[in-house]
C-alpha cells in the first residue's frame, strides 16, 4: 500500500469522520481508522460499534493495500503539517508499520490487523428514499438541540425521524421541551415509519451534510440507518424503543396568543438570563396588554427586568420558564417574527415562526 495525497484532501475527510472515534476505548482497534486503498481511491472508516462513517477520496497512481492506523495521531500529524504539503503514506507489510512522510518530516505509526476492525453487518434495507442533503440538514439543525442526554428514558436520547406519505418529520424532546420540524418529501411508505437515531449518530451525521441539494440516499433496516452521500457513507444503529406520542403533548387550543419581534425578544431574554439562578435558569414572564415582562433573580437577590412590546390582548398571565429552553427555541426560529401560544401557568408554551408551521417548539413551564 502506497499513495500520495495533498494535505487538505486528506485532512478534511479525516476530521469529519474522526469524531466517531471515542477517546476511551474498550477495544484497542476502535481507536484506529481502517484505511483501504485501491488504484484510484482511498477509503477511510471510523467506528464506535454504534456509528460508522466512511470517507472516500480519489487518488492517482496508488498501490492498493489496506491496514488500520491510530486515528487521532494521523489527524494531528496532518493538521500540523504546513498548508499545501504533499503527504506520502506507505505500509511496510513486513514490519506492520505505516510511514507518513512529507518534505523533511517522517512518522512511523503502528498498525493493527484489519481483521480485528469491526464492520457493520450489511444491512437488509426495508425502506429506501432520497432526500436533498440541505433538507436533511435543516430537519436535524432545527430539532436536535432538544434531544435528551443520558436520560433513563433511553428512547429520548436521540432524534425521531418519521416518514409518512409525502412528509418527513424530525422530533426531539428531553421531556421538558420538544422540537419538531416537518418537510415535504417525495416518499410513499406503506405505513408511517418511525426510527430513532441515537444522539451521537445525529451529531456526527450533521457534520457530513452541506447546504447543496445533492441527494442523500437513505436506507432503513430493522435496526440500522444507512445514508450515502457523494464522498461519505454513514451508518448508525437505531435506538430500539418507542418514541412517546409527541402529538398529544402539542397543545392545540391555547387561548393566549403573543406575537413578538424575534430578535428583540431574544436579546431581552439573553440579558434577563444573566441574573437568573445559574443552576435552574428560571425566569418569570408576565403578560399584559401589549406587554411582555421578563424578570429574573438569583440567590444573591440581584434582579433583572425587561419590558418588551408585543402584540397581545388576552388575559394577564404569569408563568415561569427555564430561559435556556426559550432561547434555544428562539435561536432555531429563522423568521423575524415569532408567535407564542400559551394556556395557564402550568401549561406548555408553543413557539413557532409567525406564519410558518413547519417548525414547532413546545416548552413546559417551571414552577417558580
Amino acid at each position: 500500500m502506497k499513495f500520495s495525497i495533498q494535505r487538505e484532501a486528506l485532512l478534511k475527510p479525516l476530521q469529519t469522520i474522526v469524531g466517531v472515534v471515542e477517546r476511551r476505548q474498550t477495544l484497542p482497534v476502535l481507536s484506529n481508522i481502517l484505511v483501504v486503498v485501491s488504484n484510484d481511491r482511498l477509503s477511510m472508516t471510523a467506528t464506535d460499534l454504534e456509528v460508522e462513517m466512511i470517507a472516500r477520496v480519489p487518488l492517482d497512481n496508488a498501490q492498493p493495500g489496506d491496514t488500520t492506523i491510530p486515528a487521532r495521531k494521523i489527524v494531528d500529524i496532518c493538521r500540523a503539517l504546513p498548508e499545501g504539503a504533499v503527504i506520502n503514506i506507505t505500509l511496510d507489510t513486513e514490519k506492520e508499520r505505516v510511514t507518513v512522510q512529507s518534505g523533511r518530516s517522517r512518522f512511523n505509526l503502528t498498525t493493527l490487523p484489519i481483521n480485528d476492525f469491526p464492520s457493520v453487518d450489511e444491512i437488509t434495507s426495508q425502506f429506501e428514499f432520497s432526500l436533498p442533503q440541505n433538507i436533511l440538514k435543516h430537519l436535524i439543525e432545527k430539532t436536535s438541540f432538544a434531544m435528551a442526554q443520558q436520560d433513563v428514558r433511553y428512547y429520548l436520547n436521540g432524534l425521531l425521524l418519521e416518514i409518512s406519505s409525502g412528509v418527513v418529520r424530525a422530533v426531539a424532546t428531553d421531556g421538558h421541551r420538544l422540537a419538531m420540524c416537518t418537510h415535504d418529501c417525495d416518499v410513499k411508505p406503506v405505513d408511517t415509519l418511525q426510527i430513532i437515531m441515537p444522539r451521537k449518530g445525529v451529531t456526527e451525521l450533521v457534520k457530513l451534510l452541506d447546504d447543496t441539494d445533492e441527494p442523500a440516499q437513505i436506507q432503513v433496516s430493522a435496526n440500522h440507518i444507512k445514508i450515502q452521500l457523494n464522498d461519505f457513507v454513514f451508518t448508525s444503529k437505531l435506538i430500539d424503543g418507542r418514541f412517546p406520542d409527541y402529538e398529544r403533548v402539542i397543545p392545540k387550543n391555547s387561548d393566549k396568543h403573543v406575537v413578538a419581534d424575534k430578535e428583540t425578544l431574544r436579546q431581552a431574554l439573553v440579558r434577563t438570563s444573566i441574573l437568573s439562578n445559574e443552576k435552574y435558569r428560571g425566569i418569570r414572564i408576565r403578560l399584559s396588554d401589549a406587554l411582555l415582562q421578563a424578570q429574573a433573580n438569583n440567590p444573591e437577590m440581584e434582579e433583572a427586568e425587561e419590558d418588551i412590546e408585543v402584540d397581545y390582548s388576552g388575559e394577564e398571565l404569569e408563568i415561569g420558564f427555564n430561559v435556556s429552553y426559550l432561547l434555544d427555541a428562539l435561536g432555531a426560529v429563522s423568521d423575524d417574527t415569532v408567535s407564542l401560544d400559551l394556556g395557564d401557568s402550568n401549561s406548555s408554551c408553543v413557539v413557532q415562526p409567525k406564519g410558518d408551521s413547519t417548525c414547532t417548539y413546545v416548552i413546559m413551564p417551571m414552577r417558580l
Partner: protein, 401 residues
C-alpha cells in the same frame, strides 16, 4: 447523649394489647404455615420455645403446637408507631426512626428542659407504658452504636445507661457479634482469627485486621473502641435516602441480586415520595465476599422519586458491574441523593400527568407515576409491601429458609 428506643416484640405486643386473652400465651404475627409464611414477630412467651422472627411458621408450630398465629395488621402497627413517635417528639425534635419499632433520639439539647438523658429515657418509657400499654427497651449512651447495644442488652423491658467514661468497660467483654454489621459469616471469620470479644478486636493490630477485612475492618475497630461519629439524622434533614441488605450467605446469582435491588429501590423510592423529596444521584453499593466495598453512582438529567426511573438507573449500574464480572456479594445497597433543597424551580415534564389542565389536555398519562401512586395508596392503607413489583419476588423473602 443518644437514646435508642426499641419496642419489645412490637407486632405481637400490639396484638396482645388488643386481645387481652392472649396475655402470657405464645403468640406470633406472621404468614400462615400453609402458605410457607414466616414469623414476623414473636411474643416473649413464644420465644421461650426457641421461636424467632424470620423462622418459617411451620417450624414454629412444630416447636410449639399451641402457638397462636395471627396475620399482621400493618396499618394498625403504623398507627401505633406514629403514636410512639409523638411521645418521643415531646422531648426532642431529633428523631431518627429506623423502622416502625425502633428509633434514635438525640436528647443532648433537651437536658436543661427535661433533666439528664437517663431521666428523659425513664419518662419516655413510662409514658409509652401508661398511654399505649406497650413496653419499650431503652439504651442511653454517648453515641448511636453504644446506645443500640445497650437497649438490646437486658431485653425485654430493658433499661441500660452507659456513661461516656464507662463505654470501654461496657463494650470490652461483649462478643464481637454485638457489633453493628457483624453477622454469622464475619463472626466466623473473626473467631477463626482468635477474636471473640470486642476487647480482642480492639487490641488486634490494625494492619492485621485491615489485611483480612479491608476498610470494613477499620470501621469495626473504630466501633470496638466505642467511636461512632454518626449523628442522629431526622428524615427531614436527610441528604440521601438509602437501604441495604446483608445476605446470610454470599450471593452470586445475578437474578437474586437484581430482585433484591428492586425491593431496596422500591423502599427508597417510597420513602422519598413520603417525604416529598426528589433526588438526582443514584448510588449502588456492593460489598464482596472479601469485604471489599465499592460504590457506583450516576446522575440523572432531572430529579425524580419515581420507582421506575430510579430502578432503571441503579439496574444499569449493577448490570455494568455484572458485565465486568462480580465476586460473590455479601451486601447490596442502593441510595438516592442530590435532593432539591429549593422547593421552587420545579421543571414540569411534558409526559407527566400531574400538570394536565383544561387549557392543555395534552400530556400523556404518566403510567409510571400513577403506578407509584396506586402502590403507595394501597400500601398506606393495608400495610407496607402488600403491593410490590413482581421482579422483587424472585428471591426467597429475607430470612426465610
Amino acid at each position: 447523649m443518644i437514646i435508642h428506643a426499641d419496642m419489645d416484640a412490637f407486632f405481637a405486643s400490639v396484638e396482645i394489647r388488643e386481645q387481652p386473652a392472649l396475655r402470657g400465651k405464645p403468640v406470633v404475627v406472621g404468614g400462615r404455615a400453609e402458605n410457607r409464611g414466616v414469623v414476623a414477630a414473636a411474643s416473649y412467651a413464644a420465644r421461650q420455645y426457641g421461636i424467632r422472627s424470620a423462622m418459617p411458621t411451620a417450624t414454629a408450630l412444630k416447636r410449639c403446637p399451641e402457638l397462636v398465629v395471627l396475620p399482621g395488621r400493618m396499618a394498625l402497627y403504623s398507627e401505633v408507631s406514629r403514636q410512639i413517635q409523638a411521645i418521643f417528639a415531646r422531648y426532642t425534635p431529633l428523631i431518627e426512626p429506623l423502622s416502625l419499632d425502633e428509633a434514635f433520639l438525640d436528647v443532648s439539647a433537651s437536658t436543661t428542659l427535661f433533666g439528664p438523658a437517663p431521666q428523659i429515657a425513664r419518662d419516655i418509657k413510662q409514658a409509652v407504658l401508661d398511654e399505649l400499654r406497650l413496653v419499650v427497651s431503652m439504651g442511653v449512651a454517648p453515641n448511636k452504636f453504644v446506645a443500640k447495644i445497650a437497649s438490646d442488652l437486658q431485653k425485654p423491658n430493658g433499661f441500660v445507661v452507659v456513661e461516656a467514661a464507662d463505654v470501654q468497660t461496657f463494650l470490652d467483654p461483649l462478643p464481637v457479634s454485638r457489633l453493628w454489621g457483624v453477622g454469622k459469616v464475619t463472626e466466623k471469620k473473626l473467631h477463626a482469627r482468635q477474636i471473640h470479644s470486642i476487647a480482642d478486636l480492639r487490641r488486634a493490630s490494625a494492619p492485621f485486621i485491615c489485611q483480612h477485612f479491608g476498610q470494613y475492618g477499620e470501621q469495626l475497630q473504630q466501633l470496638a473502641r466505642g467511636h461512632d461519629p454518626r449523628a442522629v439524622i431526622t428524615e427531614r434533614d436527610a441528604k440521601s435516602i438509602s437501604h441495604e441488605t446483608t445476605f446470610a450467605q454470599d450471593v452470586s446469582d445475578t437474578e437474586i441480586l437484581r430482585s433484591v435491588l428492586s425491593n431496596l429501590t422500591e423502599q427508597v423510592a417510597w420513602r422519598m415520595r413520603r417525604q416529598n423529596v426528589r433526588g438526582r444521584t443514584v448510588h449502588l453499593k456492593l460489598r464482596f465476599d472479601d469485604f471489599h466495598t465499592i460504590t457506583r453512582a450516576r446522575s440523572l438529567s432531572s430529579r425524580t422519586h419515581r420507582t421506575r426511573d430510579l430502578w432503571h438507573t441503579v439496574r444499569q449500574l449493577l448490570n455494568r458491574e455484572i458485565a465486568n464480572g462480580l465476586p460473590p456479594i455479601r451486601l447490596i445497597g442502593m441510595g438516592v441523593g442530590g435532593f432539591d433543597a429549593e422547593e421552587s424551580h420545579e421543571q414540569l415534564d411534558l409526559f407527566d400527568v400531574r400538570h394536565d389542565s383544561d387549557a392543555n389536555p395534552g400530556p400523556a398519562r404518566s403510567e409510571a407515576g400513577s403506578i407509584d401512586k396506586i402502590t403507595d395508596d394501597i400500601n398506606r392503607r393495608f400495610g407496607n409491601k402488600r403491593l410490590s413489583r413482581a421482579r422483587g419476588l424472585r428471591h426467597p423473602r429475607p430470612g426465610s429458609d
